[in-house]
């Protein structure tokens, strides 16, 4: 701590008393290593116990502290007061409804994650005694990047199409879908294609690309979305060439 303080302006919303969100400023002592999350914890412990926000790991891995910091979607534990000259604004993640203060309603997002069938749908049935589904490092390398998602929601806050149409499947869920489609052990592509092709699927994306810019885990969801635009077009034009999917499998 340097003994200096910095202004942290937080967008407050307490549904029982606020008609609409209001800004509230706090003076927070800081040092070189004071993260925005540490500042929020200081506010809650020392200045104002009514402030609500989510956090857990403090190390950019749990994905619960996503918020708009200085107007940009960021993890509060990975953003630092030192990077903001005099004042930093902190607001709940854009494009999500505000539940209270910095806490947003994640239900729609979680539903989308579930919808894309984010689990292996085995390509071929294997009995227990056949052993595990093996995969080479090269095969794993194909999807590893898309498996890095921590569900922080920053990409949804970066996507204007999600804001304009909250039902759009969105970058994170499509990246997760892509992760399973790319997995050599998975055979669920045809089932997931429906979601890609749907009205609320990839063609809602207008290639703004900000989702990949803000992703703290270098997942590059914009790439997953745009590659699937191509897959969807291919599926539309050439689906008659594909053999009918095998029925059954261990599901």
């Amino acid at each position: 701590m340097t003994g200096q303080t910095k202004t942290v302006a937080v967008l407050r919303y307490r549904p029982e008393q606020d008609e609409a969100p209001v800004w509230q400023e706090y003076q927070v002592p800081y040092g070189d290593d004071t993260s925005v999350l540490a500042a929020l914890n200081y506010i809650k412990d020392e200045l104002d116990g009514t402030l609500s926000f989510r956090w857990s790991c403090r190390q950019a891995i749990c994905g619960s502290c996503g918020m708009m910091i200085g107007g940009k979607p960021q993890l509060a534990c990975k953003a630092f007061l030192r990077d903001y000259p005099e004042r930093v604004t902190v607001e709940a993640l854009a494009h999500f409804p505000i539940e209270r203060d910095l806490v947003v309603v994640m239900d729609g997002f979680i539903d989308k994650l579930q919808k894309v069938k984010p689990y292996l749908i085995p390509r071929e049935m294997r009995a227990l005694e056949d052993g595990e589904y093996l995969q080479t490092p090269e095969e794993m390398d194909l999807y590893a990047q898309f498996a890095g998602c921590i569900n922080c929601g920053l990409c949804y806050a970066a996507c204007p199409q999600v804001g304009l149409n909250p039902d759009f499947l969105g970058p994170g869920a499509i990246a997760l879908l892509h992760r399973y489609n790319l997995d050599s052990r998975d055979g669920g592509q045809a089932e997931r294609m429906e979601m890609i092709n749907a009205e609320l699927g990839v063609f809602n994306c207008t290639a703004v690309g900000y989702c990949s810019e803000v992703c703290p885990k270098m997942v590059d969801p914009a790439n997953a979305v745009n590659v699937n635009k191509m897959n969807s077009a291919r599926d539309y034009f050439f689906r008659f060439l594909r053999p009918a999917p095998k029925q059954g499998g261990c599901r």
């Binding site: 549904p15 539940e99 204007p160 690309g209 790439n223 745009n226």
Partner: protein, 136 residues
């Protein structure tokens, strides 16, 4: 009774909210000039089909100050559109692998931009050659 009352923030003016969105709108907006240039080419084609007088009028417009200003503006806008298009290209391509290693996005953009430059010079050079009656 629940006190829950989730607040949905309006999206009005979202494109002004972040410099990234402003850049995106600029990129998309310059596509209008691609359309304008296509119209101009089409007008030239119609003029060519309509006979010598019409074609003469078209080329005179191209050589006039307003014609030069318009095409200068179109060129700048198309360059901006082209450059920003190649900058987002890595986001839209399936991963490119060379020798088992993933090619970084910056390399893909650079190769795209270089290809654009080479193609532009080749086309301009070809027409210069045509204009000089193949005399180089």
């Amino acid at each position: 009774m629940s006190k829950r009352r989730p607040y949905v923030r309006p999206m009005d003016g979202w494109f002004k909210r972040d410099p990234f969105f402003i850049e995106y709108m600029a990129h998309e907006g310059t596509a209008v000039f691609v359309w304008l240039f296509a119209l101009e080419m089409l007008a030239g084609l119609f003029a060519l089909a309509a006979g010598e007088a019409a074609w003469g009028g078209f080329t005179a417009f191209l050589a006039s100050v307003p014609g030069l200003l318009l095409n200068g503006l179109i060129l700048v806008m198309l360059l901006y559109h082209g450059v920003s298009w190649f900058l987002i290209m890595p986001r839209t391509l399936p991963p490119v692998r060379v020798g088992g290693r993933k090619v970084p996005g910056s390399t893909i953009s650079a190769v795209g931009l270089a290809a654009m430059l080479v193609a532009s010079f080749a086309v301009v050079g070809f027409f210069c050659l045509l204009a000089n009656g193949g005399q180089g």
